[in-house]
Assembly symmetry: C2
């Protein structure tokens, strides 16, 4: 049989990171390529206790069909939390619990984009989201990221010149992969431009709670007096990614359609996970938990940056200091003898996996001098071993 594959799906490729995972599965390889939260950050004992209690006292609620919008107690809890802590959510907004924040990208794109419509995103940006946009045959237009966020002039040019722009996709805090945080000035500028050109903003904030230094910058959604921002939140980095719980807060008109799409996609999100998340937020000291997480990641990030300063920087590799998140973006010098692609390949051959920067571009064929390092998944020993190897390679090859 000659299978017909739809135009939108035909050219989709598995994420390059996934392909790298195949090497990373070799236990002798140090993987700095993942994006997993540190396992020690999971509140295992609490989840164990809550889960046992749920299955003992209200098993039918955890095991039966539920409503597409999400577990009502969790919806209310998250809504109140986001309102009081981050001023996210207005009277014109509503909240939908999703199967991970990834599903927000999927449902939102499906709801607002026709095939061929344009999505503006940061360049580089999160490959999972880019693939989600691609899977609806959206055109991607990447805006170069500077150390305080998107280049605003390039953004306005794109808004002016690109056809059928539907939304701007942005990870404003500790962006994946660049680690960059968009400044408050740029957040306001991006909001004003979106308003001026009547396009929406999809604000993805998976790492916002993981700030390790500096002051919180208000979410773009908190500026949203015009109903143009869809906010995507996630429990993956603060509770557990395996539970697959995220949420969307945005204009009711759009969210209602996303709910209908979700009904046809997976009916509703796993009930047990939603109940566990609710009770964890409700019965435990959530702020203390977040402080503990930040402490874990602060230590890991500081240790990683120390290693980079010791082993990579003297050999010509530069990186952007981060204030949070899970990733550090390293760049080969302009005059490097070896290309970034070849450097990453040599790293794999020497048993260290990093993600080549072009994987995060809207056009993967473009050149990149950067690669992404993750410091949350490896142990300190692995991190040290891996970065030492990268340092040796840099000294020999760059």
């Amino acid at each position: 049989m000659e299978y017909v594959i739809s135009e939108k799906v035909k050219t989709l490729k598995p994420s390059a990171i996934r392909e790298i995972f195949k090497y990373a599965a070799d236990p002798s390889v140090v993987s700095l390529s993942a994006g997993n939260p540190a396992p020690e950050a999971f509140p295992v004992k609490e989840i164990e206790k809550i889960s046992a209690d749920i299955l003992a006292t209200e098993p039918v609620a955890a095991l039966q069909y539920s409503v597409t919008e999400g577990y009502p107690l969790l919806r209310k809890k998250v809504w109140d939390y986001m309102q009081s802590k981050y001023s996210v959510g207005s009277d014109d907004d509503d909240i939908l619990i999703t199967s991970g924040a990834q599903q927000v990208m999927d449902l939102f794109t499906k709801t607002v984009c026709n095939e061929g419509d344009t999505v503006i995103c940061e360049a580089p940006s999160f490959i999972g989201s880019l693939n989600s946009f691609r899977s609806y045959n959206c055109r991607l237009c990447g805006i170069p990221v500077e150390s305080d966020g998107m280049n605003i002039e390039a953004l306005e040019n794109a808004l002016k010149n690109e056809k059928n722009v539907r939304f701007i996709y942005i990870i404003a805090n500790f962006q994946n992969p660049s680690g960059i945080t968009t400044s408050f000035e740029k957040r306001k500028a991006i909001y004003e431009l979106a308003k001026k050109y009547s396009v929406m903003i999809l604000e993805d904030n998976p790492y916002g709670e993981l700030r390790i230094s500096g002051e919180d910058v208000p979410c773009i959604k908190s500026l949203d007096t015009d109903g143009i921002v869809m906010y995507a939140g996630s429990f993956s980095k603060v509770l557990s990614p395996g539970m697959r719980i995220g949420f969307a807060i945005g204009p009711k008109t759009v969210l209602q359609k996303m709910i209908v799409c979700k009904q046809g996609e997976d009916v509703h999100t796993n009930s047990w996970a939603q109940m566990v998340a609710y009770r964890f937020m409700n019965e435990y000291d959530y702020e203390a938990h977040l402080r503990k997480l930040r402490e874990i990641y602060r230590k890991k990030a500081d240790f990683c940056m120390e290693l980079l300063d010791t082993y990579l920087v003297p050999n010509g590799i530069t990186y952007e200091k981060i204030q949070g998140g899970l990733f550090i973006w390293c760049s080969l010098p302009e005059n490097s003898r070896i290309s970034m692609g070849e450097f990453c390949k040599q790293a794999v051959l020497n048993k260290v996996c990093v993600v080549p920067g072009n994987a995060f571009l809207t056009n993967e064929e473009e050149q990149s001098r950067a690669f992404r390092i993750n410091f949350s998944t490896p142990t300190d020993e692995q991190l040290e071993k891996g970065i030492k190897i990268l340092g040796r390679l840099a000294s020999e090859l760059i």
Copy 2:
């Protein structure tokens, strides 16, 4: 802001059943409109024990990111089970664990259909799947269902005359909503026609394990020597729908693309649920569990059919006897004074909810004389009370 909603999503409506749920939420209303498994069918104690053990002994596996294809042990377990028990799955096939079987409909449609392509389905058919097809802007072509399955002549006419038919969607066992089981002869005929016209078959089998009388009929997928059938299986009716676990078994070429789509949709299915399902199948007597389920549903179905024979049939309402599943399809007589829509409305006003038959048609504007009754969710008392009221209405209004 004037929101742009994509062409494919613009006309999507929430399922009519969902709207009826709003009435059904009133505790004084007897709901015969749901499709929930009987809560007493959940193996609560076993799930409680397995879950406690998982969270005590391998919490990180349950809480961390996992692979998109699904938990390897569950994939293998389900694969072996489907092969040995139902001859489903060949060397050219592979298996993907999904977030409920609903996601199989979504991923398969996304993968093989361009906007405007045609999907052939039974008329009536499951509204959740129809909405999933609609959400990719597919045209639906309904083939009338007879007591042994689709009208084969109408099917061939459609295959001959409809443009860009991509697949035939069929629930061959105890179809939702009609309760009908497609005969082996018709299964073979449908397979041969699909082959002749080079279209695929999407075989959805959520109720296959819930046979209460008669002999199992081989799955269409078990006939699939040509790699043209995508099989959708579900744990919702045999373990728990709130866990949201289903699976797809089908040709690798198509399944690989579905996996890439799933990556962009929800990354992977809830890990805890996949581990619980695996261990339940592996550590408990699964066949004994299924026998227990069938006993529960046999009792409920027999009781329901007795009530229908006593209260509805004498008042002119006919129904199709079922051999399994959760639904019974009732029809008003041709010469009824009251329309089916009006009858369902009167039922609601008298505190009984059923689902009007036109909700399951490819064109909801079409007339239908039928309505769907579910017997798995209500208690025996509720069932008796509800059907007595329907009987009284029938005697007064038909």
